[in-house]
Symmetry: C2
Subunit: 312 residues, 2 copies
């Protein structure tokens, strides 16, 4: 039975959050751990903001804004509008209810509670049943190398709208970072590790770069899911990044990117012609409808992945 598997999902933003939600629908809560990128975390107005962690938590709690890919549904903008009147920074759009989370998380971090514990406590308050873990409790900010020099991730992503041409990435301080408590344990317990359809460069690479994470994979079954469909990303700059780095963006390119790590790889029906190339990498391909438009899509894809993984 699928339901007795222990699964770890590695996730970044929207796509990762949606598949994590699918897995959460498909598995008993104690059978799923979601490990989330924190490379895009940053300080804004004195608050610690964790965009990927928040997208995952809001999605799992059923609170995510389906339109934007960030923030909460049912949001209001009183604080931001008043900040604008006061001449404050409004380039990063924080809604009122979203802001409460940042305030409370920052307060608890200031009191010395580690991010993983804060995430657990606030997740419980939001009604999240599965375990969500930041990959590390330490700060490992992703720096985007561009033709205009190095940019902190949110500066590149939000303020400059991914416009500067990318030449590379670095994850500051990652060599010294340790996995958050529970990360290695969850990986050791896993029957299956899922690399969610998140940006390889800035969502999963920084997560995989934390020392000890890849080691903990051991010989476990690992399935990746392509964030690129028909040469494009559903959301975000992954395809643009591949292109700027001189790689044709494709599902196949994602499989190449993760080569050595993957036992299986899920690509979209649109990219069925690339299945052989994936197979040639010694990775078992699986073709599915990977676009998750509805909550039901998420669950169906998750169940297909769980079934597929048994072939590995």
């Amino acid at each position: 039975m699928t339901h007795s598997m222990q699964v770890v999902a590695l996730a970044g933003g929207v796509g990762g959050a949606r598949l994590a939600d699918g897995l959460a629908q498909a598995l008993p809560p104690e059978h799923l751990t979601v490990i989330v990128n924190v490379g895009d975390d940053f300080e804004h107005l004195g608050l610690r903001i964790c965009p990927d962690l928040d997208t995952v938590c809001y999605t799992l709690a059923g609170l995510a804004n389906p339109e934007t890919g960030w923030g909460r549904s049912d949001e209001s903008w009183q604080v931001l509008n008043t900040l604008a009147e006061l001449g404050g920074a409004t380039w990063f759009r924080v809604g009122d209810r979203d802001l409460a989370l940042h305030l409370e998380r920052s307060e608890r971090l200031r009191l010395g509670v580690p991010l993983s514990q804060v995430t657990y406590d606030l997740g419980k308050r939001m009604g999240i049943a599965v375990r969500v873990l930041p990959v590390t409790d330490e700060s490992v900010p992703t720096i985007v190398r561009t033709e205009n020099g190095e940019l902190p991730f949110q500066e590149y992503f939000v303020r400059q709208r991914c416009e500067p041409k990318v030449t590379g990435f670095r994850f500051a301080g990652v060599e010294q970072a340790r996995p958050a408590p529970g990360v290695v344990e969850a990986l050791h317990r896993a029957d299956l590790i899922v690399l969610c359809p998140s940006n390889p460069w800035v969502s999963l690479d920084p997560l995989l770069a934390v020392p000890g994470v890849q080691d903990a994979f051991g010989t476990r079954r690992v399935v990746g899911v392509s964030p690129i469909i028909g040469g494009q990303t559903v959301k975000g700059p992954a395809a643009k990044m591949f292109s700027e780095l001189g790689i044709q963006p494709s599902a196949q390119a994602v499989a190449v990117h993760y080569r050595g790590l993957l036992g299986g790889f899920v690509l979209d029906r649109q990219d069925i012609s690339q299945a052989d190339a994936v197979q040639a990498l010694d990775i078992l391909p699986y073709v599915a409808d990977t676009l998750m438009k509805t909550r039901q899509d998420r669950r169906r894809l998750a169940l297909e992945i769980l079934e597929f993984s048994k072939l590995l």
Copy 2:
């Protein structure tokens, strides 16, 4: 002409803010400086909150909530309600629009801008034409000595609702504090210094305790306005504090409290019988309707005070 006078108003919370607004209505903007207590400032959720300064600024900007004596009118509570859902601290009630001010002020302070400059810049954004100055840019937290030990002011005032019996006060670090830029200059330029109807113990004493402030009074005309009417305060714990310190709360007791500093003293019509006792302190008494229910009341009282001061 009244209008050519240079006036400095020393103010704490609601009563002080209202008279400051009356003076602002009665004088050209460049003729009024309002110097405000910061002894009740505190950190909350990582934000610097300045209750007296905010009450004065919101009142002068016409944004104050007339019901509460703190915060803004037209306020919403999305952040606070969400904080409550997340298990955060809600004992200090911060509205959404109010929060934007705290966020922006805290951000600017973190960047190294002094409180007096931040207050000026944000005050301009709020449409405040007169100069509002925190008495000092430094931290001088008021500590309330009570039968249950020492309490930080907001802990006493908001969280414990002024319930513990007061035995005294101290203003931590005040000996080392310096007046904010502009404070001494405004006092030196003043034709009249008005001690607004604020709490003597926790609004004006901490302000007057900043070294250099009282010295700068020199021989200038100083008029105090009683915050106590008929033995009671309109708002706040001043009367209760007088009682607990063994002093019958009255306008006269306020005049005694400020003896040596005042040339004139304004007491309410209800307390007309105390005028002789004030006179006996070598302070010129003036009887007026001091309760400011409307904006017109504030202006009328301000004009009366300006006229009265010419007798000193």
